[in-house]
C-alpha cells in the first residue's frame, strides 16, 4: 500500500485510475496533465501515453513471440515455445473454422491477433496495482495505469477497428446494393416496413462495436477497482482477498479475451453471409 496516511482514500483510487495524459492544455499548451482536471480540460486532443505504450508493448511481445516461433517452426518435434504457440494457433484455427462460415484466410490471423493481444493486455492486471505507479512516481512520472483494457479508449479503439472490418466486408461481399437491401428489408420483407427495418438494423449494427468495447472495458475496469480497494486494506489482510480475486481473474482475463475474439469472428461471419 503506497498511499500513506496523509493521502485520502478517494485520492488513492482516483490516482490509480488516472491515465498518464499528454495533450494540448488551454493554459499550459502541449504538456503532460498533472491532475485529473487538467486531463479533462485537454479534451479530445490528448493521448494516454501509458495505454498506448503498454498496449503497443504487449502487441510487440505477441508479434515477437509468435514470429520467433513461426520462423523456427519445423515439421519435426516442436519445442516448448513452439508447442505453446501452436496450441494457441490451433485453438484459434478451430474456433474460426467452427464459427466463421465464409471463406476468408484473413479471419483466423485477425482472431489470433485479437485474442493474444487482449489476453496479454488483460494479464497485466495480475501485477499488483501499486508496483508500476510507485516505480514511475520515483522516476518523476505522476500517473501510470498499466492495463490498457481498463481504458475505454483502448477497447473502443479496437472495437472501431473491428467495426471498420465489418463495414468493409459487408460492402465487399454484398456490394452497396446488397448491403442496403439487407439493412432495409430484414427482418420484415415488406416495402412498408423499410423505415422500421432500417432503424432496427442500423442500431443493431452500431451497437456491435459498443457492446464489444463496453463488455471488455467494464469487466476489466470493475476488476481493477476491486483490486485497488483490496490494496487499501491493512497489509496483513490484503492477500486473503487479493489471492482469490487474482485467481478468479485468471479466468476473467482469458474469458474476456475469448469473448471479444469470438464475437468479432461471429460479426464478420455475418458480414460475409448473403441473405
Amino acid at each position: 500500500m503506497a498511499a500513506g496516511n496523509e493521502v485520502s482514500t478517494t485520492y488513492y483510487i482516483q490516482h490509480h485510475l488516472q491515465n498518464l495524459t499528454f495533450g494540448h492544455h488551454p493554459v499550459n499548451g502541449w504538456s503532460l496533465a498533472h491532475s485529473a482536471e487538467e486531463a479533462v480540460e485537454m479534451g479530445f486532443w490528448a493521448i494516454h501515453l501509458d495505454t498506448m505504450g503498454w498496449s503497443i508493448a504487449m502487441g510487440l511481445l505477441f508479434i515477437w513471440l509468435f514470429r520467433k516461433a513461426g520462423k523456427a517452426a519445423t515439421t519435426g518435434v516442436p519445442g516448448g515455445l513452439q508447442n505453446a504457440v501452436e496450441m494457441v494457433v490451433e485453438f484459434i484455427e478451430n474456433l474460426t473454422r467452427s464459427t466463421f462460415h465464409g471463406r476468408n484466410p484473413n479471419i483466423a490471423p485477425l482472431a489470433l491477433t485479437l485474442f493474444v493481444w487482449i489476453l496479454l493486455m488483460n494479464t497485466l492486471k495480475i501485477i499488483p496495482v501499486d508496483y508500476f505507479p510507485v516505480l514511475f512516481s520515483k522516476l518523476g512520472v505522476d500517473y501510470m495505469k498499466i492495463v490498457p483494457t481498463t481504458d475505454v479508449n483502448a477497447t473502443l479503439g479496437m472495437a472501431l477497428g473491428v467495426f471498420g472490418l465489418i463495414l468493409y466486408y459487408n460492402f465487399k461481399v454484398k456490394g452497396v446494393g446488397g448491403f442496403a437491401r439487407e439493412l432495409s428489408l430484414t427482418p420484415f420483407n415488406h416495402w412498408a416496413l423499410i423505415p422500421f427495418n432500417l432503424v432496427l438494423e442500423v442500431v443493431s449494427l452500431l451497437v456491435k462495436p459498443f457492446s464489444l468495447a463496453m463488455r471488455l472495458f467494464g469487466n476489466m475496469f470493475a476488476g481493477e477497482v476491486i483490486f485497488i480497494l483490496i490494496a487499501m486494506l491493512p497489509f496483513w489482510a490484503i492477500w486473503v482477498l487479493d489471492v482469490p480475486w487474482a485467481i478468479f481473474h485468471i479466468l476473467v482475463v482469458t474469458l474476456q479475451a475469448f469473448i471479444f475474439t469470438v464475437l468479432t469472428v461471429v460479426y464478420l461471419s455475418a458480414a460475409h453471409e448473403h441473405h
Binding site: T75, E90, L110
Partner: protein, 156 residues
C-alpha cells in the same frame, strides 16, 4: 474516463498488428502445422501398411515352413523306403551270391570226391591185381584179365 486521441492511436495499432500478423506471423506457423499434420498422417499410413505387410510376410513364412516340413517328411519317407529297398536288394544279392558260391563249392567237392573215388578205384584195382599177382605168382596175364579187373573195379 476521457475519450481522446488514444482511441485513434489504438485503432491504428490494432490495424498494424493485425496486418503484421496476417502477413508475417500466421503463414509460417499455419504452414508448419499443416505440413506436420500431413507428415503424421503419412507416417500413420505407412505404419498401418507396414503392419499389413508384416502380417502377409508372416503368413507367407508360415506357409513356406509348412510346405518345407511336408517336403522334408516326404523326402525322409522316400529315403527310408529307398534304404529298405536297398537293404532288401543287398540281402537278395548276398543270398544269391552265397547260393552261387555254395553250389560251386558243392560241385567242386563232388568233383573232388569223384576224382578221389576214381583214383581210389584205380588204386584198388591195381592193388587187387598186385594182390592177385602175389597170390597167383605171375600166372595171371595182365593184359588178358584187364577186362575182368575193370569190371571188378567198377563194382567197387
Amino acid at each position: 474516463m476521457n475519450i481522446n486521441m488514444t482511441l485513434i492511436g489504438q485503432t491504428i495499432a490494432f490495424a498494424i498488428f493485425v496486418w503484421f500478423c496476417i502477413k508475417y506471423v500466421w503463414p509460417p506457423i499455419s504452414n508448419a502445422l499443416n505440413e506436420r499434420q500431413k507428415k503424421i498422417a503419412d507416417g500413420l499410413d505407412a505404419a498401418s501398411r507396414a503392419t499389413r505387410d508384416l502380417e502377409l510376410a508372416q503368413e507367407r513364412a508360415e506357409q513356406t515352413l509348412r510346405e518345407s516340413k511336408e517336403q522334408a517328411s516326404q523326402i525322409l519317407e522316400q529315403a527310408n523306403k529307398r534304404s529298405a529297398q536297398m537293404i532288401e536288394e543287398a540281402r537278395e544279392q548276398a543270398r544269391a551270391e552265397g547260393e552261387r558260391l555254395m553250389a560251386g563249392a558243392r560241385s567242386e567237392i563232388e568233383l573232388e570226391i569223384n576224382r578221389a573215388k576214381e583214383e581210389l578205384r584205380a588204386q584198388v584195382s591195381h592193388l587187387a591185381i598186385v594182390g592177385a599177382e602175389r597170390v597167383l605168382e605171375a600166372s595171371v596175364d595182365e593184359k588178358a584179365h584187364r577186362e575182368l579187373l575193370d569190371k571188378l573195379a567198377a563194382e567197387l
